[in-house]
């Protein structure tokens, strides 16, 4: 017994000595990166912008973590678009996608474990982090003159957000898409003798015609995990722009025009005219709330089509059945004008990349994302419109894609997706949930509007 004890004692002593030796050897160096984002270069060697130095192979072997909402087909396209950059520079971009992005990014930032770069589809959510001073001001190392040359001023304005010490440039725009599109199965559409509607009345008349012919006109699905409901918000925004002035839309986004106002109510009611008409929607109301947004266009591609219209952003082409040919199997027309005085506005959305950790290689990757080159392969595979000016129009492989870029350029009214601009508690919160509750029949319209508005003044 005492022998054992002695052994134990000596062993413990040995452990203590060992640990002392270990700690003595360990240099107490701060391995933490400097996250203050101050002026001046942290590195001493090399010249040029971070991107030029990355191309010179200076950051070979480093890792940059990225987190965003692209999953499935979109993730593949994203990985494809950064492959060349990774091979040239030797920087390993580790992308992780999540369908619960909105909630998870908050948890990671709160927990002090943010990714180096996060891809926000909602500037409103990013604004919350910028307010709290958690985001690095990219204007501290980006060449502003270059940015002004490469982006429309409105994009840059949308990237400017309020930080704790005044305005900062919270991120850079990488990929944008157009939302006011109605997709239809072109070949069958023409074979059936239907014509592309140019006004709302024509659209409704054609929908009724399709019902008479024994089909459902619309394919709609809003299920998207915890983000269920965003498809409905896009509809509301699109109809808002067509039934009231852009100024009112801006007020609504800023929280000055309440959800309970007539303008918003009218828009939602007009949407309901289509959505809640069991003949108009494939599968009826049940199908709307239960069908995943990515699966919802499928009925258009069955043979013969079971549904004919699908209103959705340009990215939806990633979810179309493999091998469907743009311009033959499918095409789009802009969601028609409702009130002549407001024309046919374009609703756009996009991804803003923000930076949480300031290291030279992260700067380089951020700079890379400001170049058209970074989404070239994505543009070529379709579904994306480039916000950068240095993206070559030749990259759009089909007319279907090129017409999107033209539609955005020519639109008299261009507005960004409202729910993405609203504060996260509304735009990624009560607006989504309220629409879902309303569509699934949990609440009536008045109650839904009040609850959506409640997200603002919390």
């Amino acid at each position: 017994m005492s022998k054992l004890k002695r052994k134990m004692l000596s062993f413990t002593a040995f452990l203590m000595v060992l640990s002392l030796v270990l700690t003595a050897c360990g240099g107490g160096d701060e391995a933490e990166p400097d996250t203050t984002g101050g002026e001046g270069d942290t590195a001493t060697e090399g010249t040029g912008t971070p991107l030029e130095r990355a191309y010179a192979g200076e950051y070979d072997g480093t890792k940059v973590t990225m987190f965003g909402p692209f999953t499935d087909a979109d993730q593949v396209k994203f990985e494809e678009s950064i492959k060349e950059f990774e091979e040239t520079t030797g920087i390993d971009i580790q992308y992780e996608g999540s369908k619960e992005f909105e909630a998870t990014i908050s948890i990671r930032v709160e927990g002090g474990n943010p990714p180096d770069i996060a891809d926000f589809p909602q500037p409103g959510l990013l604004a919350t982090f910028a307010n709290q001073g958690r985001v690095i001001d990219v204007s501290t190392f980006m060449d502003m003159e270059y940015l002004q040359n490469n982006y429309n001023q409105s994009w840059l304005d949308m990237a400017s957000m309020q930080g704790p010490e005044g305005d900062i440039m919270a991120g850079i725009w990488n990929r944008s898409n157009v939302k006011s599109l109605v997709w239809y199965p072109k070949r069958e559409f023409e074979a059936a003798g239907y014509e592309v509607p140019t006004t709302w009345d024509e659209l409704i008349a054609l929908s009724e015609q399709i019902v008479k012919d024994g089909d459902s006109p619309w394919a709609i699905g809003i299920e998207s995990g915890a983000a269920t409901g965003w498809v409905a918000t896009d509809w509301v925004e699109d109809i808002m722009l067509r039934t009231t002035s852009p100024e009112n839309y801006d007020k609504w986004v800023a929280g000055e025009l309440p959800f309970t106002s007539d303008e918003v109510r009218t828009a939602v009611e007009r949407m309901s005219d289509i959505w809640f008409n069991e003949d108009f929607v494939y599968g009826g109301r049940n199908a709307i709330v239960t069908t995943a947004f990515g699966d919802s266009p499928n009925p258009m591609f069955s043979d013969p089509p079971k549904a004919w219209f699908h209103r959705q952003g340009s990215f939806i082409t990633s979810f179309f059945p493999e091998g469907s040919v743009p311009g033959e199997d499918y095409d789009w027309f802009a969601l028609p004008s409702i009130d002549e005085q407001y024309g046919t506005p374009a609703l756009v959305a996009g991804d803003i990349y923000a930076m949480f950790n300031d290291r030279p290689e992260v700067r380089a990757v951020m700079e890379f994302f400001t170049t058209g080159e970074s989404i070239k392969s994505w543009i070529q595979s379709g579904g994306v419109v480039a916000p950068m000016n240095d993206a070559d129009p030749e990259w759009y492989t089909t007319d279907v894609e090129r017409r999107m870029a033209e539609f955005v350029q020519e639109a008299e009214t261009l507005r960004f997706d409202g729910s993405d601009l609203m504060p996260g508690s509304v735009g990624a919160g009560t607006f989504w949930k309220g629409m879902t509750d309303y569509v699934s029949g949990a609440v009536d319209l008045e109650q839904a509007l009040e609850e959506m508005e409640a997200g603002f003044n919390k």
Binding site: V289, G429, K458
Partner: protein, 362 residues
């Protein structure tokens, strides 16, 4: 007493010095190891190994050295201090990891969304007036009433019936099996069972059965409110009945055979035996199992998150908390919900502890 004291006076300074040295020595050594591990960039695998080694042997060395010091104390004092030496670190750790965060959560619940402006109890008032939260509370009640009751009743029934069958082992194994599946995986499995798609073709099991019997397919978990909650509760029953059954079976086997035989000879029928002998005899187990399952259903989160994300009126307090705290970033409201959940669980826990104490667990 006096004599004892005299004996020690000589060693008191020495003892005090040793105690201090050991205590401070421990503090310094482990802080140094911590700082070293924190600030040295190492290979992640090496980190893990070092941390485990330090965790295991570090804790051992702390206990060992402190105990060694206490052993040197006079018997009387030693008997008084020793228990605290052993239970102290655990209590401190729990205090730091559980009690302090609880206090902080309560503190946050008295503030607004950004934890800057004091709002008093208005968050608490809001919880009990807001439709969404009332729905969440209602659903939680549904989970407890339907879910927990069904688990206990079925568990008891199966335990008693299996006890008399020839294939008891097989039946129990099959019923117990879902316990081994994680909640999230169970959610995925049941998603396929409840799957609904518009059109003629139904690939979800339940809808396929309904259509085969001539019914019309339903969106089980999203429409049919509020009954869609019951379809989610079935998942819990499927998973937790096995747990209740196993414990009840064990208790059942503990009832003396002579007692049952005596009752039968006295002419009691099976129902009387079940209600008058078996149930009272197992009461302790029944209460323990019930309270465990009730606490579990009050905290239910993962099934709902996977199946519906809390949409379609299926929110419960835990999912609503997650939504408010992490998605809406409304920290005051989120913390309030956490506290409400804590308060709801407390009575059940107290009941549970009492039961344990009766059974000599404390």
């Amino acid at each position: 007493m006096e004599a004892l004291n005299k004996q020690e006076t000589t060693s008191i300074p020495k003892l005090a010095l040793i105690s201090l040295l050991v205590f401070v020595g421990n503090l310094i050594v482990h802080s140094l190891i911590f700082i070293f591990l924190r600030d040295t960039p190492l290979n992640p695998a090496l980190y893990a190994i070092l941390a485990i080694i330090w965790g295991v042997f570090g804790v051992y060395s702390i206990y060992f050295t402190l105990n060694w010091v206490v052993e040197k104390y006079p018997t009387k004092i030693r008997a008084r201090i020793q228990p605290y030496i052993f239970v102290g670190p655990a209590v401190l750790l729990l205090g730091w990891l559980l009690f302090l965060p609880t206090l902080r959560t309560f503190y946050l619940s008295l503030f607004g969304p950004n934890s800057t402006n004091f709002v008093g109890i208005s968050n608490y008032i809001a919880v009990f007036t807001d439709r969404l939260l009332i729905t969440a509370l209602r659903n939680n009640l549904m989970w407890v009433v339907f879910g927990a009751t069904a688990c206990i009743v079925f568990g008891l029934l199966i335990a008693v019936l299996a006890d008399r069958s020839n294939f008891e082992k097989t039946a129990k194994a099959i019923i117990f099996m879902p316990m081994a599946i994680s909640m999230v995986a169970a959610g995925v499995i049941w998603k396929f069972i409840y799957f609904y798609q518009p059109g003629d073709e139904q690939i979800g099991l339940l809808n396929a059965i309904v259509v085969a019997l001539g019914g019309s397919p339903q969106a089980w978990t999203s429409m049919l409110q509020p009954w869609n909650n019951l379809f989610l509760i079935i998942i819990l029953i499927w998973m937790q009945t096995g747990f209740a059954m196993v414990l009840f079976s064990a208790a059942l086997k503990g009832i003396p055979a002579e007692l049952l035989e005596a009752a039968r000879i006295d002419g009691a029928n099976e129902f009387t035996i079940f209600f008058k002998i078996i149930i009272p005899y197992m009461m302790g187990t029944i209460i323990s199992v019930s309270t465990t399952i009730i606490v579990f259903t009050l905290k239910i989160f993962d099934i709902i998150m996977v199946m519906t994300g809390g949409q379609y009126e299926t929110d419960v307090v835990a999912t609503q908390f997650y939504r408010q705290f992490f998605m809406y970033r409304n920290f005051g409201y989120g913390s309030t919900l956490a506290i409400v959940l804590l308060i709801a669980v407390i009575p059940v826990i107290i009941l549970n502890l009492r039961q344990f104490r009766k059974q000599g667990g404390f």
